[in-house]
Symmetry: C2
Subunit: 158 residues, 2 copies
Amino acid sequence: MKLSTRGRYGVRAMYDLALRYGEGPVPLKATADRQMVSEHYLEQLMAGLRRAGLVTSSRGAQGGYELARPPGEITIGDIVRVLEGPIDPSDCVAEGDGVDACERADECTMRLVWKKLKDCMNRVLNSISLEDLCKETASLASGACGSCRAGPGPRCAV
Amino acid sequence: MKLSTRGRYGVRAMYDLALRYGEGPVPLKATADRQMVSEHYLEQLMAGLRRAGLVTSSRGAQGGYELARPPGEITIGDIVRVLEGPIDPSDCVAEGDGVDACERADECTMRLVWKKLKDCMNRVLNSISLEDLCKETASLASGACGSCRAGPGPRCAV
DNA sequence: CGGAATCCCAATTAATTTAGTCGGAATTCA
DNA sequence: TGAATTCCGACTAAATTAATTGGGATTCCG
């Protein structure tokens, strides 16, 4: 049970935008450099986030990406669900067509387990907004580990 | 964020053994048939569960697998962690070498998010034992959906 | 107006993981 | 002995991941 780089990079990128919310468009290259992620790869992720209405983009010189809403109104769950797909440990707990996946879904013991897991994951991820992250960073020393590229030693690409 | 078939089949198989706990070894073929899973594939999963000490095996005719402990002492978390690997949304929250993954792990805002997610997932999965599943089944109609192969219609392989 | 900066889009790819399959050896019971 | 079983290792096809590549369209600035 690991998040893919899509979810992890995506959250980092959105966090990067949250730190600069209200300052106009942030070029992708700047975010990619700060977060040490391939620009082209991040581009794909941003395309998804834009289609989902979480960011807006402006093209051309001085263009870039901005959060579509204040950081307090975007949760980690919003981001992760866009980039990783819905949080469904098993198909039978998917919204809508989950019931279709199995005729006996409502009598299935396993399903109750995956439902609990799903609900708990969503609860945690929905409870943390980008604003929360920014505030938390203020009380920590240096923010995200990858944000600072100076000096030697390993850096995770959370 | 989906469990692979390893985790899902594994839980089903262990549930199958739990329902028959105390009745002697259960041959893999019987479990595989009931749970509608490839016998050879399940064999690989059981090997892992055996090495992890969750089941014991006896070879030869009338052999099979049994839970190594009462169903109340085996949690879904135990099973999932063996078959899917540790529940670490990001490498930096792994036990032991998680700190090694990133020099600044203790200053990283993202890490707090993945830590919360990890803890919540483990809490849920550790709180449900095989005994709980068996009891729950008693109060539901027919147990696990795939356990009954009679009749038409879709069946999920939860 | 021209060029640099930027987003936008589609196709391709290498590596890894997933979900098995296959074949047979070793063990045990009746 | 023979049938039932676990045990083991190699193999594979398909899907997913994590990008890369190459270009096209748009916008600002001088």
